[in-house]
Amino acid sequence: MTAQFLPRRQFLLRAAGAAGFVLVPGLWRPLGATPAEVKAEIAKLVGEAALRPGLVKLDLPVLVESPNAVGMTVTAGTPPAGTRIQSFHVFAAANPLPNVGHFHFGPRAGRPRVSTHIRLADSQTVTAIAKLSDGSCWSDSVDLLVTLSACLD
């Protein structure tokens, strides 16, 4: 059984954080979304269907130096016969809002692929989910390191 006490360093950090929060509420900034919020957002999207890894590919740099505009590409492989890829949904768990964007492909779309630029608040895991016409969902994640923060200032 490990000790229940906080390590000294962590305790000091938290105490300083709490003091800062109380003393200068004007400087309070929104924190990242909680894992529960992210889970809820994804659950809302996926519904009853199972979320499987694969099919979709999320392309993001692993080391981000300018998080104000990070090039992101979402692509997908060939979906199972009889289905088509309807949309991509991207979530950044440590951003103030976990939603990044929903990208839908209509009947005139070519291959399902989108490139855009996104903001990242912190080092985090970004998840892309592809939704197929049969309701099934596939996902891919990228763990990345942000060396500067955007979104908040």
């Binding site: 990208f103 989108v114 490139s115 630029h117 908040l152």
Partner: protein
């Protein structure tokens, strides 16, 4: 005034996939920033973007503050015959913009 840059090939072959690039000039203010006086800068983002070819949807995006300033999109479309590509986007305050481009298929 919001400006936009749209890149579409002049001519495409029927049934062959082609690329569309769109760059919308917009600050995409997140609502989390503060100005020099410390007052919060209100959120101002483009929420929806839609590209259609003669009324049929090609691509549609729903955006959040995590989309960087000057939203850029790169996507693919397929056309069997020529027509008009329409681009429509709107912000959360109800302002809408539109642009169109002619597409020749041969």
């Amino acid at each position: 005034m919001t400006r936009v840059l749209i890149r579409v090939p002049k001519t495409v072959k029927p049934g062959q996939e082609f690329e569309i690039k769109v760059l919308i000039s917009h600050p995409m203010e997140t609502g989390y920033r503060r100005d020099h006086q410390g007052t919060p800068i209100p959120r101002d983002i483009v929420k929806q973007f839609r590209c259609t070819l003669d009324g049929e949807e090609v691509f549609r995006a729903e955006m959040f503050p995590a989309i960087a300033a000057n939203p850029y999109f790169f996507f693919h479309a397929v056309a069997e015959r020529g027509g008009t590509l329409r681009f429509e986007w709107s912000d959360e305050r109800g302002t809408a913009w539109r642009e169109s481009a002619a597409l020749t298929v041969e």
